[in-house]
Symmetry: C2
Subunit: 378 residues, 2 copies
């Protein structure tokens, strides 16, 4: 069947209510994808993810390639079977981690040579290789290899990376068309261009010529101000075909998520809910809460009185603080479940707001509630 996307409704803001059909289930969009780096969303079982109504996970190709290895995963029936996850999976290309995590990177037009952060071994990642690895993993959606640059970056550097990323996207597409099973997997493109709207527009226009089933906005959420993330996202989505899903990579803070949706974004992923959970930072409908703080030691209330997750309905702040202070694994587990529920519940509310044509109002109220009326609180 492959990937199929339906836009069910549009909001006056430009937000879209959609449905993404994948070989492993139908996903309501806008959707947030929890990050399952090494074939596991850190701290939670697959059963708990199902109970949270998580419909799609993100897997990191770089990590899975290094350990346990894509060939082993393929031999064991692919990533879904390996990690016992029957729902959809999107994998990144590995590029982002190569550029952010690996050592001794040498990049040229062919691809990128790097050393594993685990054992220093040398590896080569090319557009073709990125597709091969993701074919072995068997993700529902795979991403093209792109060159990820730092923020801020000079215009010329951003332009060159965008040009190279486009050339790599063409090679990914060619390799995919020759070797992959389009009934089983889909290849998404990634628009680059740094913080330069004209570069992004040009890059998007050229990328769209490849007629891929979906497009991502890449190279953002790397430290730039929220306003720039919004501006670049808007400049990009304006040039993407309306009938294809758009994926904004690596975002974001809960108060910012509606802003991206209002700019036509259908898919997002971020480590914030899971990583913050392990650091004791909890998201609530009144803003963030650092569970280690002393006032919570005797606080019998739930993390968030407006939350109906299994953590808030059963456990107190006092207990969660004790678990965190005692370095008990259960602290990280419960914090993760709460934070993931918070994000997934937010996406449900966003979809309801789009359906009701009132997303702009919801976004303003939501930001005010989370930040005390201020702007970005990152």
């Amino acid at each position: 069947m492959g990937i199929r996307f339906e836009v069910l409704a549009r909001d006056p803001t430009g937000a879209r209510l959609g449905r993404l059909h994948t070989p492993h289930g139908v996903i309501d969009t806008p959707v947030f994808m929890p990050v399952g780096t090494a074939a596991s969303v850190k701290g939670v079982t697959q059963q708990q993810l199902e109970a949270l109504d998580c419909q799609i996970l993100l897997g990191n190709t770089y990590h899975l390639y290094l350990r346990p290895g894509h060939e082993l995963v393929a031999r064991l029936g692919g990533l879904h079977k390996f990690m016992a996850w029957p729902r959809a999976i999107l994998t990144d290309s590995g590029g982002f981690q190569v550029f952010s995590l690996a050592e001794l990177r040498k990049i040229n037009d062919d691809g990128v040579t790097f050393r594993s952060h685990l054992d220093g071994s040398e590896h080569f990642l090319s557009p073709e290789r990125a597709v091969e690895i993701q074919m072995a993993l068997g993700s529902d959606i795979m991403m093209v290899l792109d060159e990820c640059i730092e923020y801020p970056a000079e215009r010329e550097r951003a332009r060159e990376a965008a040009v190279r990323s486009l050339a790599w996207a063409r090679r990914c597409k060619q390799h995919f068309d020759q070797h992959a099973d389009a009934q089983r997997q889909a290849l998404f493109g990634i628009v680059q261009g740094g913080g330069y709207a004209d570069l992004r527009r040009e890059n998007a226009d050229q990328l769209v010529e490849l007629d891929l089933p979906g497009y991502a906005v890449g190279g953002l959420a790397v430290g730039e101000p929220h306003a720039l993330t919004c501006e670049m996202t808007e400049a990009t989505t304006a040039r993407l075909p309306a009938e294809k899903p758009r994926y904004l990579m690596g975002v974001g803070y809960p108060e910012d998520i509606p802003d991206y949706v209002m700019r036509g974004v259908d898919m997002m992923d971020c480590v914030l809910p899971t990583r913050n959970a392990r650091n004791g930072l909890l998201f609530t409908s009144a803003g963030r809460l650092a569970i280690k703080n002393a006032p919570y030691a005797a606080d019998e209330g739930p993390v968030d009185a407006n939350c109906n997750c299994m953590v808030c309905t059963r456990y107190s702040r006092a207990y969660l603080r004790h678990l965190f202070a005692s370095n008990e694994m259960l602290g990280a587990i419960l914090n993760t479940i709460h934070n993931l529920h918070f994000y997934l519940a937010l996406m449900r509310r966003i979809r309801e707001a789009i359906a009701a044509g009132r997303l702009a109002q919801f976004a303003a109220e939501w930001r005010a509630a989370l930040t005390g009326g201020g702007t970005h609180s990152a």
Copy 2:
């Protein structure tokens, strides 16, 4: 209502099928109690413990006294409410950890002075104080303070510790009778006497005069051979009243558990299933399995083909090995769930065997299956 114990059936071996009524539920015995050291069974949620059909947990008074503190737990409604665990809880007296974990112990007939292993602060634990702390925690069953000695220990040292433990038990009982609510909590005694059967018999006979609602066999599972554990257990339970529950503290390996039950033991606790799980050691119906071993890397089978736990029905050895090798939290979580299921399922089979009058046969078959026919494999 307090504690009430019924013996429903006796096996020819001396094993008993029973029912322990507590203010927080009825427990089928023989029972295994998972250890929830710091108000958490490491790696699993309370929901998962309920799904495992765990009916009673053990809490460590020493740890809870130091952090978060028994007074805070009392202020928050007691340990059940604090940790959101509606079923039964047994707490130890804190003595074992003081003697094994704390620093700079000074012991005399009054009690024991020690330094916290967390921050070096000085504390004093007396029989009265141990009861006070456990009253604050609100456990269904509390234990008397006893002097725990090393193995091996000279006869005179074992005798002195047993005499002191008996005197402390009397003071615990007196303090409990004056201050505690016997409808809400019960106090169990602990028989000491090291590896000397006559000391144990004498200690048991004197302890039984206190007419406590239950008795423990203490000071075992400290490194002595399995045969001695059995001998001391048998010497002790022979002197304990038949109508009261018997608790063998700190045992044991799965292949040994039936041996204790055959000597009239009704309750046990041990960190083995949970601690081993975190170290990647899994219990199976064919013996132990170190999940880190290379042959499991491509093993699509479950940990134990005879196990119907949520781990064995969903995840492969290959996946669990990957999680362990990658130091993913989920590895420890799933291993813990499997190992706890293994112990709790064993106890169900033991209860069935007692009811059918065939525990001796089951015990022999069980040991043979787990150890390949040999004796103790610790």
